[in-house]
């Protein structure tokens, strides 16, 4: 697929407050001395390479970058980066990162999580991090399976999934992570693919630049327990029909290109019901299909998440053969950590002697003196 155009509106930068490096950095400086131990062919390798390649471009002091992870295959990520890092416990990384980001506005805080970690055991922390809009970037590696525990179905596995724990098929409906995040009113919500380095990098750059909680769902192939889950969006033969690219300000078009190189299918909003439909786009001069100017123009900055939610529903819940890719939503909103630091700064006012202030606090209320 082609690189999506990434909008940079007038939002406060997500990295402002983080000290910048004195000299240019390179990929090697960000690689730790630890041997990478994912299975051969794992999609995690591609994401790690993209992150190691892209972090130097941020130009931040390496010591001011922190990666926090939970539990799962992807959670080993921090060990392979020569930044500060914490490999914590199952599902809790967003909560831990919230405490860190709130107390340390000078850090660039990243959370690495998976579909089980973020959406099952840690679902509560994920939605509350999104709601609070703490300044951090969450990378959600979605392989639609439990890898580290060897192949049970996950909260994003399709209904009826036959796994070790569900020999007759899974019985629970999957989460759509983008829909969930939009329901929690996340301010930056995007989806990308492990194997598309260019798109992955561009989305990560936008996520890092966003002030607030950025959630990036990364479709990631598990070659051992769920191989091929994302073939439709990766296979050059099928991906033009499977990927619905979301580019802010552009009509949403995909499918086999017409003579002008533009997708022959598109997304139309029914003016009556507001529902989204996939339609054939009329070629120039033709009346066969929907006119191009009637297509939905993607507005990632729309305050109301309703249209972004409708777009997220164009993702298959079962076997994946169609999914919008790109930034669903990017809106400006106050962040919890900035407000928390502002309250402290306001309360502090003019710098005073905390020792005297403490003495004053302890002597508050009704006191009496015994001589």
């Amino acid at each position: 697929m082609t690189q999506t155009e990434l909008p940079f509106p007038g939002l406060p930068n997500g990295l402002s407050g983080v000290p910048t490096a004195d000299a240019p950095q390179n990929r090697k400086e960000f690689a730790s001395d630890q041997e990478v131990r994912w299975c051969p062919g794992c999609g995690d390798y591609a994401v790690l390479a993209a992150v190691q390649g892209f972090l130097p471009d941020l130009g931040l002091k390496r010591e001011n970058i922190v990666f926090v992870s939970g539990i799962g295959c992807a959670a080993r990520f921090p060990y392979y980066l020569d930044t500060y890092g914490m490999h914590s416990i199952h599902g809790r990384a967003p909560a831990i990162a919230t405490g860190l980001a709130t107390t340390r506005g000078d850090l660039s805080v990243w959370v690495v999580t998976g579909d089980g970690d973020a959406l099952s055991i840690g679902g509560n922390h994920l939605i509350h991090a999104l709601r609070r809009n703490v300044n951090m970037t969450i990378l959600l590696f979605n392989n639609r399976i439990y890898g580290l525990t060897k192949g049970q179905y996950s909260p994003t596995s399709e209904l009826g999934k036959v796994t070790k724990s569900t020999p007759m098929g899974s019985l629970d409906n999957p989460f759509n992570p983008i829909s969930l995040a939009l329901g929690a009113e996340g301010t930056f919500i995007a989806r990308t693919i492990d194997s598309d380095r260019k798109h992955l990098t561009s989305v990560l750059s936008a996520a890092a630049a966003h002030r607030g909680t950025s959630l990036v769902e990364i479709y990631q192939n598990c070659p051992i327990f769920n191989d091929g889950a994302f073939d439709a969006v990766k296979d050059p033969e099928t991906k033009q029909d499977a990927i619905i690219p979301l580019v802010h300000g552009e009509p949403i078009r995909f499918g086999a290109p017409d003579e002008g190189g533009r997708g022959s299918r598109g997304v139309l909003r029914d003016p009556g019901t507001g529902e989204l439909r996939i339609v054939d786009v009329a070629a120039d001069g033709s009346t066969d299909g929907v006119p191009a100017d009637a297509l939905l123009v993607h507005d990632a900055h729309a305050d109301d998440p309703a249209t972004a939610f409708a777009l997220s529903r164009l993702t298959n819940a079962g076997h994946l053969n169609q999914a919008p890719i790109g930034i669903f939503r990017q809106v400006e909103q106050s962040t919890y950590d900035d407000l928390a630091r502002d309250q402290i700064a306001t309360a502090r006012g003019e710098a005073d002697d905390v020792g005297n202030a403490l003495s004053g606090l302890l002597h508050g209320g009704d006191t009496w003196t015994v001589v």
């Binding site: 992870s69 539990i71 922390h125 606090l361």
Partner: protein, 638 residues
């Protein structure tokens, strides 16, 4: 009329009424008057978990007990000398605790057939003669209050609500309490609603005047101020002292305080209090759940903050995994457990000390951490500072075990001199601590201090010390993931040794034995200090020798504890649980301690405990006479 003034050395008063009657406020005001008068005092609020249980019913009764004296006292008292009951339910719910001959003051206004029935009375106890053993004073307090404030034009209901101030005024007269603190308080509190303000002040004064003029009361009592060490004092509850101690720990260490917490009774007041102190750089984060509360605190600790989480027993259960992560990552973290009755939801507003085992062992695998417990409401301050000191110095989560009685109970507190308080040095790592094979400087996060066994605390933002920590076992020294069997065995033992080493950094256990000849030791921990101390005094007053010691550090124990235990013929361990400290002492020291265990949701009763001590002393002396001389090591310890 002129009234007789009778001197007494101490008195216990219990105010009881419906949850909506303002009994906590009444008790609190009486306490403040008493504190400013200079008596020693101790208080015990007792209220239902329901915010407003049905009016007039037994479950809706709320009470506040205050014990004050002209000498130092240790407990809120076993049995009130005076019960103020604002309705039949309050009388019925509290009567069993009152000693014969005690004074009972009731608001007869609410003794209607409907309310009597609600409280479960078949007939009116004020008329049936069932209260003959008591000195009963029944007045229409509500009616007199309404009459006194009628010119303010309040509704009858609003006017009647000032009856608690009428009662307070009456009791204030009876015990010669100063009235200015309460009138000042009412004027501040209701400054924006003049009608309510004036009605409350008027009701308070009317109550005082009624006490002075009624012929029902012929005696006014005087309890002289207690002799206290020179200094400035204030009355303080345990939760407030704890919050102040946490702020002090932050100031003394220079580390910004980060509290991650989820509301839970009886710990929430610590969250409320700390949220007021942002000017000290305190961040309070009300998390989505208990787990997120401690997780955020641990994340903040990784970033160099003084991370704190506050909760009660059920919250500790949820936080266990994260506390274990803190043990593994060896980061400072304060975990405050304000214990309440359990298991499960248990008795949310009542006290208990049954989380000791949870604190010791409530995590997967070998996950030792220091445990420390305050012994009185005011002691919560010092213990919070000590918990911060240990956490920062040894890079470890520390569990602080307060309880519901300490949290809400109060006593006078001699305010410490801040300038004399010791500093806590965070001693952050700033330089590489190791040289690699190629001669380059690098940083090993698990290279320990030889004295403390603490690992270096390098916070993000420190160049050259980038490192990764986490829940997986780390190799000694360089801290990379290690599954090596020998390394794991070494690390498990080292984490335990680090905690044990704290015993060299705390005071040895002191034993109080005025006789110098006691053969029985009473050993306690936490909030039982008051009742145990009071019981020991009662026993000693009868000429019986008994020794008392109280543990502040539960893990590690003071290094002389084994010696102390073995120096006595018998050791009694009173606890508000079924014998958790007893179990630890027996396991650790092979000493057959005797438990005294009550789990009633209330502090131990000193008188009952005194009987148990006397019984044990008699039994021990009896058996001793037939056996041997006191052992030699007993002599050396004394």
């Amino acid at each position: 009329m002129t009234k007789q003034v009778k001197q007494i050395d101490r008195v216990i008063i219990r105010f009881a009424g419906d949850s909506g009657d303002g009994m906590q406020l009444t008790g609190d005001r009486f306490t403040q008057e008493t504190a400013s008068f200079g008596n020693d005092l101790s208080t015990l609020p007792n209220f239902p978990a329901e915010i407003r249980a049905p009016a007039g019913t037994l479950p809706g009764v709320s009470s506040f007990q205050v014990h004050f004296a002209d000498h130092d006292i240790l407990t809120p008292g076993d049995s009130p000398d005076v019960l103020v009951a604002m309705n039949p339910a309050a009388l019925r719910a509290n009567l069993a605790d009152i000693k014969n001959g005690a004074t009972i003051i009731v608001d007869s206004h609410d003794f209607t057939s409907r309310n009597l029935k609600r409280a479960g009375y078949g007939e009116n106890p004020l008329e049936s003669g069932s209260l003959a053993e008591y000195a009963v004073h029944a007045f229409d307090l509500t009616g007199m209050t309404v009459e006194a404030v009628k010119h303010f034009g309040l509704s009858r209901k609003d006017a009647g609500r000032a009856k608690n101030m009428f009662a307070l005024g009456m009791l204030s007269w009876m015990y010669g309490r100063p009235t200015e603190p309460t009138t000042d308080f009412l004027e501040r509190r209701f400054a924006k609603v003049p009608d309510i303000r004036d009605a409350n002040v008027t009701a308070f004064r009317a109550g005082w005047n009624f006490g002075e003029t009624t012929e029902s009361f012929v005696v006014q009592y005087e309890v002289k101020p207690a002799t206290m060490a020179a200094g400035t004092y204030r009355n303080i509850t345990g939760n407030l002292a704890l919050a102040y101690g946490l702020v002090a720990g932050s100031v003394q260490s220079g580390l910004p305080l980060f509290l991650g917490s989820y509301p839970i009774t009886p710990a929430s007041d610590v969250l409320h209090e700390l949220s007021k102190h942002k000017r000290f750089g305190v961040t309070t984060f009300q998390a989505e759940d208990e787990i997120a509360g401690v997780g955020a605190a641990l994340g903040a600790a990784f970033g160099g903050a003084l991370g704190v989480t506050t909760t009660s027993g059920p919250g500790i259960a949820l936080k266990s995994e994260t506390i274990g992560l803190g043990v593994m990552m060896e980061l400072p973290l304060l975990v405050v457990d304000v214990q309440r009755g359990g298991p499960s939801t248990g008795l949310p507003t009542k006290t208990e000390q049954a989380d000791l085992m949870q604190a010791m062992f409530g995590r997967n695998s070998e996950a030792p951490l220091p445990i420390i417990a305050p012994q009185s409401p005011a002691d919560c301050f010092e213990v919070a500072v000590e918990a911060a000191r240990i956490a920062v110095k040894y890079r470890t989560p520390v569990m602080l075990l307060s309880d519901g009685y300490l949290a809400n109970g109060s006593e006078p507190w001699q305010i410490p001199d801040v300038s004399a308080m010791p500093r806590i040095d965070p001693a952050f790592a700033t330089e590489p601590n190791h040289t690699d094979d190629k001669g380059a400087a690098d940083f090993w996060p698990y290279l320990r201090d030889e004295d403390t066994l603490a690992r270096p605390w390098a916070v993000p933002g420190t160049a050259g010390l980038e490192h990764r920590i986490g829940g997986l076992e780390k190799a000694d020294g360089h801290g990379n993931i290690s599954y090596d069997p020998t390394n794991h065995d070494f690390m498990v033992r080292t984490r335990a040794a680090k905690v044990e080493r704290i015993s060299t950094d705390i005071a040895p256990l002191e034993v109080d034995d005025p006789s110098g000849s006691a053969r029985v030791l009473v050993l306690g921990w936490g909030s039982t200090y008051g009742p145990i101390g009071a019981a020991c005094r009662q026993v000693r007053n009868q000429g019986v020798a008994v020794a008392q010691a109280h543990l502040r550090h539960l893990n590690p124990f003071p290094r002389n504890l084994g010696e102390v235990l073995k120096a006595y013929d018998a050791v009694l361990v009173p606890e508000m649980n079924l014998g958790q400290l007893s179990l630890l002492l027996r396991a650790r020291f092979l000493v057959d301690v005797v438990g005294y265990n009550r789990v009633r949701g209330l502090p131990l009763r000193a008188a009952e405990l005194a009987d148990a001590i006397t019984d044990l002393v008699e039994a021990t002396t009896g058996s001793q006479d037939e056996t041997s001389m006191p052992s030699a090591d007993k002599e050396t310890v004394r």
